[in-house]
Amino acid sequence: MNAATMLENQLKYVNKAFWRNPASAFFTFAFPLMFLVIFTSLLGQHSITISAGHTIDVSTYYVASMAAYAVISACYNNIAIGLAIQRDSGVLKRTRGTPIPSSIYIMGRLVHALFVAVILVVITAAYGKFFYHASLPTGTSLMEFLVSLIIGSLAFCSLGFAITCVIPNADAAPAVVNASILPLLFLSGVFIPISSSAPAWMLWVARVFPVRHFALSMDAGFAGATFNWMDVVIVAAWGIGGFLVSARFFTWEPKR
């Protein structure tokens, strides 16, 4: 059997299991959409200045940052928690004892996360367009947007794989994942806009970690902010770092 057929099969089952699992379907899929509705409904009438002289509706801002949040949740949270549970319950070890190549198995998870991320971004964009007249990327900015979306998704998947290396067991998975991502989401201005008057340490954190850079490239797509390839490069660098950590430390057997 060739790799493409195997991957296709694998995707089919990963997809079924994903939608039937209330926890993954809710926290990965419905959660970001719920936040989108809450934030835009609550704060949608205001406008904010995202860079010098560039003022946008808060609703547009949240369409962009909830798109970023959705991708992070579908890739980082979903992969890290899902894999930690599968590793702990012995699914990964069982898989390791069958002839499916590890790369196909991992690709199955990754492509599926990418697929969920894209659906979430499309729904978010459609919602923003329909209710709040958010601008949608076109032409060159669409290309830039898609490249940063795909690189961002892959990078956060890769970081999801990497964080499982420090998750001791399935019970700890949601705690470790949320503790690592939630503060960053706040410090990177995903939930609450941060301006240049924010404390310096906070701006530093935002500058070092990938979340802010990824959110900025989403802003560029939806809110007309300036697109900066450097943001994509920094996100990609984190992704490569995550890949190297996973390649070295990822285990298929439960940590006991």
Binding site: M1, M6, N9, Q10, Y13, K16, A17, R20, N21, Q86, D88, S89, G90, V91, L92, K93, R94, R96, G97, T98, P99, I100, E253, P254
Partner: protein
């Protein structure tokens, strides 16, 4: 398959494996024949799991020769994986897939899978094929484990403690499934620490203790069990004196026992005496050391004991 039934499925020579300073396996030699159900017994920490995981390709050996279905697990893992099925101790699977979907998913990993409905019939889960895994009982999940292991139509199956933690009826369910595998000509390697399981299922077995095989044989004759002293026990009615020509030990309240290697002669002697004296030998019975007795003796003693008479 039948013509090759005496050929080796697994052949191991001088296998060693250490974790740091701890020698988990200290020179294991073992042959497992094609088509047999082979049980590997041993206490926790004896090296059972390490041994089996080396055969399965999960772990690498330090030294020795290992051939599984003619393949070297260290150097031909992919070829080996297509021909073996593994049931691990912990039975993780995707809880939200249906039974038939689960088997179909694992089937899709193999070059020559067995049809899904055929597998479900083999393990008795036809009626549950559309049920989600999370709704199965423990025994049913274990049968699904076996079904997954059969997905690739393997020649060899590894079952690691398949009934640990099960209630008696779930154990029986799983045992029947395993017994049925013999009819398919599969070789089955089973690790367990239940004597009744080994006795019920295994054609042959080996006891592993402290990283070495301390005894090997079939359940009836393991470590000379059949040649060990048998115990003849009976009771005499009140007021009847015991015959003096036997080496009887009085147990009190009219009970007696006799340790002997000549069971037939001694039982004949006893019953002849009883008939002659018009006495009833109440609850007369002959007992052999159980597999468990032999096992406990083998695994308690650090020096290998292969055959011989226990006292």
């Amino acid at each position: 398959m039948d013509s090759a039934s005496s050929a080796s499925a697994i052949s191991v020579r001088g296998l060693t494996k250490s974790y740091g300073k701890f020698a988990a396996l200290r020179g294991v030699d073992l042959e497992i024949r094609q088509g047999e159900i082979f049980a590997l017994l041993g206490p926790n920490g004896a090296g059972k799991t390490t041994f089996v995981e080396i055969l399965e390709g999960f772990r690498h050996r330090d030294a020795g020769d290992v051939s599984v279905l003619g393949l070297d697990p260290d150097h031909q893992p992919m070829a080996l994986k297509t021909r073996i099925g593994i049931v691990l101790q912990s039975s993780g699977m995707d809880r939200y897939l249906q039974v038939a979907e689960t088997v179909a998913m694992y089937s899709s990993y193999y070059p020559h899978p067995r049809p899904v409905d055929e597998i479900l019939a083999l393990v008795g889960l036809e009626a549950k094929s559309a049920e989600r895994v999370l709704r199965l009982s423990g025994g049913q999940q274990r049968r699904l484990d076996v079904a997954i292991a059969l997905a690739g139509n393997p020649d060899l199956l590894f079952l690691d403690e398949p009934t640990t933690g099960f209630d008696p009826s779930a154990r029986r369910e799983v045992w029947e499934v395993i017994k049925n595998l013999r009819g398919l000509g599969k070789t089955v390697v089973l690790t367990t620490h239940f004597m009744d399981e080994a006795q019920y299922l295994a054609d042959r077995l080996a006891v592993i203790a402290n990283g070495a095989i301390v005894a090997e044989g079939n359940p009836e004759t393991l470590a000379g069990r059949d040649r060990m002293l048998a115990t003849v026990r009976f009771s005499l009615p009140e007021g009847v004196d015991a015959p003096t020509q036997f080496d009887l030990v009085a147990l009190g309240t009219g009970g007696y026992e006799l340790k002997t290697t000549r069971v037939t002669q001694d039982v004949h002697g006893l019953t002849s005496w009883a008939l002659g004296a018009g006495v009833d030998l109440e609850d007369l019975r002959v007992e052999r050391p159980t597999l468990e007795d032999v096992y406990l003796e083998l695994t308690a003693d650090p020096t290998p004991l292969t055959t011989g008479e226990a006292s």
